[in-house]
């Protein structure tokens, strides 16, 4: 009666099944553990974001962490209780790393939040169904934990075959087997929901023939719904590991291969785990989010191996206690199956959405790995590899870090099923070698991408700089030509009207201007030096080179300015009277103001440096002090000058004339304050680091405004 032609995948192994230990008793529930620890990343994709805070009381089924983006999943409270911690804890990960977890202390009341299913769900809009699945936080329960709503959101016309993965090929694990025996009707309904969403032409339930009870239960359920179900077939397949691998199951059932680097949907196939179908059914029909799953607890150290409906977040230690696990016998604690699972070092690790099995094994059961011997190229791994790779070649390449050849030998197509390492007579941990090589390749690719980008950036910048330099050069030439022309004209004019005494005053008047230029040049040099120091710290050699170029330029400018001053001073000496007469109170005031503004910038920079913990804080502090001194000097000079001036003239410089000026000053100060305020607000909005510095600037401007106002008042009074 089986209409489906089965295909055989190459390779594969037949490890001892060890499944009967945990199928003796039905799926049962556990008493509530003292705490539940829920990692916010239980799925592939972006971490979800906690939406509860410490001390909150939550209801069963309430969202406690929201999906971030499309490829992410919601997380719900598995029971009612209090949030007692949101912090880093050890999570279910091969590396034993920690991640943010939400801890709930159950109140024992099991108060449900209001939940609602979709009525007549088989007539509902696919979009609404997908949204409900997403809201319920359903992810693939087979192992990888890919968010189900993402998988289901394929173009319906693309999918010809919906494959339900019920193979459960790994030894020890019986969670899907028991679920099918007990919940066959619900599973079929879940499949119907998926059919409604992706509208496939046929649906195949691939199940290994070592589960006769589950096959019978599913067939019975199909008969039960006979009139309503559409083209759903239970397809028993020969027991061979890893028939439950997505790619292998697709090959067995359809004879097609998922293209390398592609997805099953590329060949019109969607694969879902049978447990996921049950979760979909609960989410759609009852509105129950994914807060529990069936997990097998087994192994020789386990007193009562069986399957449990476990709340997510339940610590493994709770399961071990409840099954009377002998901690003296316990040697290896595995999450997942013996072929692809990973060991736990901490029994406090919580059960997550993808945990299908916990194996508490004894030393005799899973002995410590034997000493690695030399590869004799026996080729047993090649015979076992379901991906038709050459494991022994990959092993040589991985061992010698020959990533290029490993890549060429398609190491990326390795599914890490462990069949090669299982058969290896030399006890070589082959999969570990491949993981190493894959990691190295990933890192090398990332590095290459980074260096390529940097190279591109550098080249673009070089090109731009060359262009700019060329433009500048052209401008300079034009200017030089114009200046030469002018000079020539001037010379001609001078020649026409020789020895004009007024002309000699010009260099003296320019002295201050030149001084300003020198100051600016010095400032430029200083700034560039600072930048170089920063760039060197950051290790950006390209930038350092560029900046050094700029530095020499600035230094040249400085030298030029110094020369100009020297020559101007010489000229000024010739007419000493002219320079001194130029001293006016306005000029002195301007000097004070300039010194103050310099002080301001120095302070700002210091504040910045302090905030970013830069090493330049000391240097900047001295700079501020120096500027402060200069301000003081300038002020003193001003008062002295005013004193001498008043002494000399005996006339109080009455400010009547200055009333208008003062008013203008107040207005200007006001605008400055407004501007500073605006800038500060902008910085605050964007969360920039300069907020502190800007705040300081604002305070100063306000102080100045106050001063100006006071002066105005005094003057008008």
């Amino acid at each position: 009666m089986n209409l489906i032609t089965l295909h055989e995948f190459k390779g594969g192994i037949h490890p001892p099944e060890n499944k009967t230990q945990s199928t003796a008793s039905p799926i049962s529930s556990l008493k509530l553990p003292e705490t539940l620890t829920l990692p916010i990343a239980q799925h592939i994709g972006a971490q979800s974001k906690p939406v509860v805070s410490l001390g909150d009381m939550v209801l069963k089924g309430q969202v406690i962490a929201e999906a971030q983006g499309f490829v992410s999943a919601n997380l719900h409270a598995p029971t009612s209780g209090k949030i007692t911690a949101i912090e880093h804890r050890v999570i279910a990960h091969p590396s034993g790393m920690s991640d943010i977890c939400i801890e709930i202390q159950p109140d024992g009341l099991e108060n449900w939040a209001t939940i609602q299913g979709i009525e007549n769900y088989l007539e509902a809009e696919p979009k609404a169904l997908i949204e409900k699945i997403a809201a319920s936080g359903v992810t693939g329960l087979g192992g990888a934990g890919f968010p189900t709503h993402v998988k289901a959101s394929v173009e319906p016309s693309k999918i010809e075959t919906l494959i339900i993965n019920a193979a459960e090929c790994e030894p020890y694990i019986t969670a899907d087997d028991m679920l099918m025996r007990e919940q066959a009707n619900s599973i079929i309904k879940g499949i119907e929901i998926l059919q409604r969403i992706v509208q496939p032409k046929q649906c195949l339930i691939g199940i290994e023939d070592n589960k006769p009870e589950a096959i019978a239960a599913l067939e019975h359920a199909l008969k039960h719904f006979k009139d309503n179900t559409f083209n759903i077939h239970v397809v028993p397949i020969p027991t061979k590991y890893p028939s439950g691998g997505e790619k292998q199951l697709i090959e067995i059932l359809t004879g097609k291969e998922v293209p390398a680097g592609g997805l099953p949907s590329d060949i019109g196939i969607l694969c879902q785990n049978v447990g996921t179908c049950f979760a979909i059914y609960k989410a759609i029909s009852k509105g129950e989010p994914l807060i529990s799953r069936v997990t097998t607890v087994t192994g020789n150290a386990c007193g009562q191996p069986q399957n449990f409906e476990v709340l997510l977040g339940t610590p493994v230690s709770h399961l071990l206690r409840e099954t009377n696990t002998d901690s003296n016998q316990l040697n290896r604690l595995i999450m997942g199956g013996p072929m692809m699972g990973f060991t736990l070092e901490d029994a406090q690790t919580p059960i997550v959405k993808s945990t299908n099995c916990i194996i508490a094994s004894s030393q005799q059961e899973l002995p410590d790995p034997a000493y690695e011997q030399a590869c004799i190229r026996c080729g047993m791994c090649t015979e076992a590899c379901p991906a038709q790779l050459l494991p022994q070649q990959l092993y040589w390449f991985a061992k010698s870090s020959n990533l290029e050849q490993a890549t060429a030998h398609n190491i990326s197509d390795c599914i890490e099923c462990g069949a090669c390492a299982y058969v290896c007579p030399s006890s070589i941990p082959l999969v570990q070698y491949y993981r190493f090589a894959k990691g190295e390749i990933k890192q090398a690719n990332a590095d290459k991408l980074k260096s390529d980008r940097a190279k591109e950036r550098f080249e673009t910048r070089m090109a731009r700089q060359e262009r700019e330099a060329a433009e500048k050069e052209a401008k300079r030439k034009a200017r030089a030509e114009a200046a030469a022309k002018k000079q020539a004209e001037k010379k001609a004019a001078e020649a026409a009207a020789p020895a004009s005494s007024e002309a000699k005053a010009a260099p003296a008047a320019d002295l201050e201007l030149l001084q300003k230029k020198l100051d600016a040049a010095q400032n430029g040099v200083k700034k560039t030096k600072e930048k170089i120091a920063l760039a060197e710290e950051a290790g950006d050699t390209d930038k350092v080179e560029l900046l050094k170029g700029a530095l020499t330029k600035s230094q040249d400018k400085m030298k030029e300015a110094a020369k100009a001053i020297a020559s101007a001073k010489k000229a000024a000496k010739a007419e000493p009277a002219a320079a001194q007469i130029e001293m006016t109170p306005e000029r002195m005031e301007k000097k004070v103001e300039m010194a103050e503004s310099r002080l301001n910038t120095a302070q700002k920079r210091l504040a910045d440096a302090k905030e970013s913990n830069s090493e330049q804080v000391d240097a900047l502090t001295t700079a501020v002090e120096k500027q402060q001194e200069r301000v003081n000097e300038a002020k003193q000079a001003l008062t002295e000058f005013l004193n001498t001036l008043s002494n000399a003239t005996q006339l109080p410089a009455k400010p009547e004339v200055n009333l208008d000026q003062l008013k203008q000053k107040v207005l200007a100060a006001q605008t400055r304050v407004d501007k500073a305020l605006e800038r500060l607000n902008m910085a605050k909005e964007q969360g920039l680091e300069t907020v502190g510095a800007l705040q300081m600037g604002l305070d100063k401007q306000q102080a100045k405004l106050e001063e100006a106002k006071k002066a105005l008042q005094e003057a008008s009074a």
Partner: protein
């Protein structure tokens, strides 16, 4: 509670390298029994000499290489090399030839080339080839006649004397191998005349080769057992035998001018070579297609050397020549990986 952190898979098949070697040794038993039954205790003595030499050399070189001696001795690889070499040698080869061959196989061909798993050439065949070209006389005059042709069966004491001291007694029971005999006779006689020689069983048409065929069938039986036990795949022996058969059928159809197919298949070291020598995984090709090419190459080379070369048998040279080619063959015969439209050929090109 101290828990182990071990990467997957957590369970492995309890079948070690030592088990592989033991199974191969086990599969040699039918052949050894036949050899002893028809050619006296010579091979058993050779096995003992070679085994002792191999184990001593292995231990010595492991010590020099600072490797764990016990662990490597227990992998049975040196023992297997020694036994294969002893079975390839004529039964009454002088002991010093055996010791030189074995020592060279273990020290140079195995360890100096990198040790277990790294040696590019089949160590037993390197040892065999060395003594074959270096000491042609004892290597060609140490085969005994099959026991039915002798008046008395060869006693152990006779065998020991022949191997360890006097070469004089040996003349009483040595005889050329069928391949050698036929090759030399075919120039001057017809097939019928040659087959009259008692070595080819004389007038008795029920079997063609006296003793030799049973040795070959013994090795064939052991080889089939190994294929069934999945120690190696069928590819190398089958393509080896098929190519030899084809060559012999095409070029040597005239048994008046050439050695006939039956003698090619059953008269020399063909079966031992096809199932136990050519299949040495370390030095053979590892891809399915590669194994077919590798096996076929050996078959063809054997025919060429046996027919037009100066040596009567050619398994050692053919295997060694194909050992050269194995890595290259592997690179160009990679299987098509799952999900790929075509197989990769050759190594990755350098930029």
């Amino acid at each position: 509670m101290k828990l182990l952190n071990i990467s997957s898979p957590h369970t492995t098949r309890a079948f070690s390298t030592a088990n592989v070697m033991q199974t191969v040794l086990l599969a040699l038993i039918p052949g050894i029994v036949a050899l002893t039954a028809f050619f006296g205790p010579g091979h058993l003595i050779q096995i003992v000499i070679a085994a002792c030499t191999a184990l001593v050399c292995e231990a010595l070189i492991l010590k020099i290489r600072k490797r764990p001696i016990g662990m490597y001795l227990k992998d049975y690889s040196a023992l297997l090399t020694a036994v294969l070499l002893a079975l390839s040698l004529p039964p009454y080869t002088p002991y010093w030839v055996t010791i030189i061959a074995t020592g060279f196989a273990i020290i140079v061909a195995k360890h100096l080339y990198g040790g277990l798993g790294q040696n590019p050439f089949n160590p037993a065949m390197v040892g065999f080839a060395l003594v074959l070209v270096s000491f042609p006389l004892p290597m060609t005059t140490s085969w005994s006649a099959p026991s039915p042709l002798l008046d008395n069966t060869i006693e152990l004491s006779q065998a020991l004397t022949a191997i360890f001291s006097s070469r004089e007694t040996i003349d009483a029971f040595t005889m050329a191998t069928p391949l050698d005999e036929y090759k030399h006779q075919v120039a001057v006689a017809t097939a019928d005349e040659i087959l009259m020689n008692p070595l080819f069983n004389g007038q008795d048409q029920s079997s063609i080769l006296l003793g030799w065929q049973w040795v070959s069938l013994g090795f064939l039986l052991g080889g089939i057992f190994l294929v069934w036990k999945k120690i190696f795949t069928w590819h190398i022996p089958v393509s080896f035998l098929v190519s030899l058969t084809l060559c012999s059928s095409i070029f040597g159809w005239d048994s008046d001018s050439y050695v006939p197919l039956t003698i090619h298949l059953l008269g020399g070291a063909t079966m031992l070579g096809a199932f136990f020598i050519a299949t040495d995984p370390v030095t053979a090709s590892t891809t399915h297609l590669g194994k077919l090419i590798y096996g076929a190459g050996i078959g063809i080379l054997i025919y060429v050397i046996r027919t037009w070369g100066s040596y009567p048998d050619a398994v050692a040279f053919a295997v060694l020549l194909m050992n050269f080619a194995a890595p290259f063959i592997d690179q160009y015969t990679q299987p098509r990986t799952y999900g790929h439209t075509k197989a990769v050929r050759g190594l990755a090109k350098k930029d």
